[in-house]
Symmetry: C2
Subunit: 161 residues, 2 copies
């Protein structure tokens, strides 16, 4: 069962991209509030680049067995919902190169996340069909994905409340 | 009067971030379409970083005189609407360090834009109050903004159709 996504709980895995709790800067002659530097896009190698992509996802069905997780060794990866739809993030800690103890977080439609470099995670778990997400991650010609089955008992994600 | 935002017309100033006309990759076991590398976040100096921020903008009133434009010499700057609201982009070509011939583009709610490094542009022109935008731009301690009045006749933006 996913728990509420908060900055504190998510800190071991990355950053929550949200306006809550951040004092904004007033910019553009007072016509806009800038919630500045909520996350940072990072690369492992200076020769790669940061790209912006759009994912259009199909809503998942539950209960959903978590069979394999992946991680990206060459850069952070941010997901920001574009259509006001909630989603689930499954991440896991690393134990000797294998994901262990998966944890699920329920993200509000106004919360994005940025996964730190190399954090084990499940591919995007959208709750609605045709949900669009902006994705900010590494542009690289090298291999930037590893996949593995989580250690321990089978993990099944139940329908988020 | 703003003209329709298209990749071709906007090419001298930057990139349109949209799924239209891009063949997607099927990823995540077929549960998502990835419209890959729609734009690239770039920096003038390798020592700076790329950050993700959120702008919350007030809707503008029209007719709106375009008094000053700005540009960012140290990095590209992308705006992606998060609330499905349309907006206007005003950009200008550079003539000997001054903006000249401002042009206005009307962006659909599903279109983001990335301004190339150093492109003259007006601060964000939202059409709805509390419109949220994801902004991807340089994190730097150096000065990353120049402002100037456009050359030529006064330019007034009329209400977009």
């Amino acid at each position: 069962m996913p728990v509420t996504l908060t900055r504190e709980c998510f800190a071991p895995f990355g950053t929550v991209i949200e306006t809550d709790g951040h004092p904004p800067l007033l910019i553009n002659d007072g016509t806009a509030q800038r919630y500045d530097r909520l996350a940072r896009a990072t690369l492992a190698r200076a020769t790669d680049a940061i790209g912006l992509s759009i994912f259009v996802a199909r809503g998942r069905r539950f209960p959903m067995p978590i069979q394999a997780l992946e991680r990206h060794p060459l850069g952070s990866q941010a997901f920001v919902p574009l259509d006001g739809s909630a989603y689930v993030i499954v991440v896991a800690t690393d134990a000797q190169g294998r994901p262990t103890r998966p944890q699920a977080f329920m993200a509000r439609p106004d919360q994005g996340i940025s996964l730190d470099i190399g954090v084990w995670h499940h591919p995007l778990i959208a709750l609605a069909d045709s949900a669009r997400f902006l994705v900010v991650d590494a542009i690289t010609d090298a291999c930037n994905v590893e996949t593995a089955t989580p250690d321990g008992a089978p993990y099944v994600l139940t329908r988020p409340g």
